[in-house]
């Protein structure tokens, strides 16, 4: 469970005529992760696709083009069952129908855009109302037609010795050719923009009416064609989607030889099979008279690293996607899913620490578990926060004594605080830690969790390295000691806090309390336990790793302090919720006015929703970050290849 599934290297050898049936069997079994052959061998070249491949890919291209024309995007609720033999004929007929309609549609669309342009061109001339022949055919007169920005501006006075026609913001100026240029300058100063005069003659009003009538006619035709295409989509969407799926599978099979080594008479398929199923694969293939041989990977670093198939108990599986999001583990290291699966929900729950929100997270998690499709990202997200919600529920009930940002009972010494008891809801549980008043408790707990989390990380790192390199393993151990040293030091320094004192007295009761070595008590006015100091020097075991490793002690301290975000978010969330509750309940709901009461309840629900969403996002991101950034870099390498067996269709992962 802590390691990825063991793999065996499997070599499949057979005569070429068995290739098709072998592919069929392997595709159905979905157990072989193929290692692509690169064809660097004289005898064994890269195989050629099966003979049916080109026909199948052609059909697939056609289906995709049909999907495109029909704009089929979402898979319809019911997809049809398709038979491969009849598929090609049906696709060809459909393509013929559709491409004819599509051609008509494109033609009409082209025509319509021409007509629209023509209408725009004629419209200003139709407003002016002059016959088009009037604008040309003069020896000494030039015609300037154009628009001006404001209809109320009058042109007539601006240009002397010219005849001006104006209708709204369209202007036609007739002027002697010699004076056309200065006139045009004057015009452009008031924002005149010239338009071209249509080539043909005639009455522009009549021409405009004719063009508009044509446009309307063609638009009606376009709608007709679109209606027909719409009907075709309704009728064939199911078929097209099913056909595409079936063809994609067939094309994958037909093109599989491109990944194999093939000689004139035989083929070789190289790949990885999960060790537990290797026997099964070998025996199934021997039924086809094809030889298969499985052997475990050689010890040490193989240039061909086996692919990684995570193998976790069911409850940990929803967390696997968070591991792949970071990086797939390498085959030779421990799978950190269980580590993350314990730490992430706990941190999330600690930051939320509220019965009400916790219950909501659990509820959403349960809905996701039963209602959402298995491969949906939302389902996995809601599931992992749902598990976190369980912790939030438990901690909120027994440690923080809080629901929806309101404590069960007013904290001791602060009777003015709102609590559930104010409303007569008496919950027989007393919060042990009150977030907004016991910040130091929250801080110390964060440091304690940091030590446990990072300590576990170093130990996993030690287990990973011990088989690879003793030097690195010793360095990990050194860091573990250093972490312990820093932790004892912090606990000693913070023992004015009750929890820290308890940790110092009870679990760390055995820890040597010598703080006056050689009579050097209080050098620089500071007292520190001697052993803590010595343990921190454990970082120098990191010399084995790198000379500058010991400098990282400060980095480790920063990592530990980074966990105080657990306290920060927890307190922050409680403070925001408390502020909303206080303001709305005391100033609106308690006024006794019915209008304010209703307004207050609406606002309260909205405010709680905001706090809930904020908590979800910030606690979720911070909890995953503590694992990714602080803990994983202590031990986790990743960079493995995911196990993708031949025959399993890969979907785009987030």
């Amino acid at each position: 469970m802590l390691r990825p599934e063991r793999m065996t290297r499997t070599l499949i050898v057979g005569p070429r005529e068995k290739l098709a049936s072998t592919i069929e069997t392997l595709h159905a079994m979905k157990l072989l992760h193929v290692i692509d052959h690169h064809g660097e061998d004289e005898t064994f070249r890269i195989g050629k696709p099966l003979s049916k491949a080109s026909e199948l890919s052609e059909s697939l291209v056609k289906v995709r083009s049909i999907m495109n024309i029909l704009a089929v995007k979402e898979p319809p609720k019911e997809t049809e069952q398709v038979k491969l033999e009849a598929l090609r004929q049906k696709i060809l007929t459909l393509e013929l129908n559709i491409s004819e309609e599509d051609g008509t549609r494109k033609k009409i669309e082209g025509l319509l855009s021409d007509l629209t342009r023509r209408v725009e061109e004629l419209r200003p001339f139709a407003t002016l109302g002059l016959p088009l022949d009037i604008y040309r055919g003069y020896d000494s007169i030039a015609a300037l037609v154009g628009r001006i920005p404001r209809a109320e501006a009058t042109i007539a006075g601006a240009i002397p010795d010219a005849e001006v026609f104006q209708a709204g913001n369209v202007v036609a100026v007739f002027i002697a050719k010699g004076r056309a240029e200065p006139a045009s300058d004057t015009l452009s100063r008031i924002g005149f923009s010239q338009i071209d005069i249509p080539k043909e003659g005639g009455d522009p009003k009549a021409m405009l009416a004719q063009t508009q009538a044509d446009e309307a006619k063609w638009r009606a035709r376009l709608e007709e064609v679109q209606g027909r295409l719409e009907k075709l989509r309704e009728r064939y969407a199911g078929f097209v989607v099913a056909a595409q799926e079936a063809l994609e599978v067939e094309v994958e099979k037909a093109e599989a030889p491109l990944r194999f080594a093939v000689s004139d008479h035989s083929f070789v398929i190289d790949g990885w099979v999960p060790a537990t199923q290797a026997k099964d694969v070998v025996s199934r293939l021997s039924l086809l008279d094809v030889h298969a041989e499985a052997s475990p990977p050689p010890k040490g670093h193989d240039p061909e690293e086996p692919p990684v198939l995570l193998n976790n108990p069911r409850p940990a599986r929803p967390f696997e996607f968070l591991i792949h999001l970071y990086s797939t583990p390498s085959y030779h290291e421990l799978d950190p899913t269980v580590f993350l699966g314990i730490a992430f929900p706990f941190f999330f729950g600690f930051m939320i620490g509220d019965v009400g929100y916790g219950a909501l997270f659990v509820l959403f998690g349960a809905i996701a578990l039963f209602k959402l499709p298995k491969d949906s990202v939302f389902r996995r997200l809601l599931l992992v926060t749902g598990v976190g919600g369980l912790w939030a529920l438990a901690l909120g009930l027994f440690i923080f004594g809080e629901a929806f940002g309101m404590p069960f009972h007013a904290p001791p010494g602060h009777p003015e605080e709102l609590s559930w008891a104010t409303f007569g809801v008496n919950i027989p549980l007393e919060g042990l830690i009150h977030k907004t008043f016991d910040i130091d408790d929250m801080m110390y707990l964060s440091i304690l969790f940091a030590a446990l989390h990072l300590g576990a990380g170093f130990l996993i790192g030690f287990a990973n390295e011990i088989r690879q390199s003793k030097k690195h393993a010793i360095a990990k151990l050194g860091w573990f000691l250093c972490l312990f040293g820093i932790f004892t030091l912090l606990t000693y320094a913070l023992r004015w806090n009750e929890i820290a004192l308890w940790v110092w007295e009870v679990p760390l009761g055995w820890f040597p309390r010598t703080i006056e070595p050689l009579g050097l008590s209080g050098v620089l006015g500071v007292t520190i336990p001697l052993l803590s100091l010595l343990l921190i020097l454990g970082a120098f075991l990191g010399f084995a790793e790198s000379v500058i490793a010991p400098i990282e002690v400060a980095g480790l301290l920063a990592n530990i302090m980074s966990y105080t975000r657990l306290a920060g978010i927890g307190v922050g969330k409680a403070a925001i919720a408390g502020a909303f509750n206080g303001l709305i309940i005391e100033d609106l709901i308690f006024t006794g006015d019915i209008g304010y009461l209703i307004l207050g309840i609406v606002l309260l629900v909205l405010a709680q929703l905001v706090v809930f969403l904020l908590a979800w996002i910030s606690a979720g991101i911070q909890a995953i970050r503590l694992n990714y950034v602080e803990a994983f870099i202590k031990f986790y390498k990743g960079n493995g290849t995911r196990f993708r067996p031949f025959g399993v269709r890969t979907k785009q992962e987030v």
Binding site: D440, T564, I624
Partner: protein, 76 residues
């Protein structure tokens, strides 16, 4: 000015400055991350990690602010 007031103002400055610093750093990282993700959507995981790295600044600010507030509450 009394120590308590100074400590309270210092806490406010600490929170504001570290908050701004974090926001500025995340702006830079976030812009680059979104750009990278447009090219390679599978970088989402790495991008998220880089994106939340600067939040440590404001967390440290919070720790220091809480210490300062303790001084403000107790006096020197």
């Amino acid at each position: 000015m009394a120590v308590a007031e100074m400590a309270a103002i210092s806490a406010a400055i600490t929170m504001a400055a570290t908050g701004i610093a974090t926001a500025w750093a995340e702006k830079v990282v976030g812009g680059a991350t979104v750009g990278a993700m447009a090219e390679k959507p599978e970088l989402f995981g790495r991008g998220l990690i880089l994106m939340v790295l600067p939040e440590t600044i404001v967390v440290f600010g919070l720790v220091i602010a809480i210490q300062l507030l303790a001084i403000a509450a107790k006096g020197p």
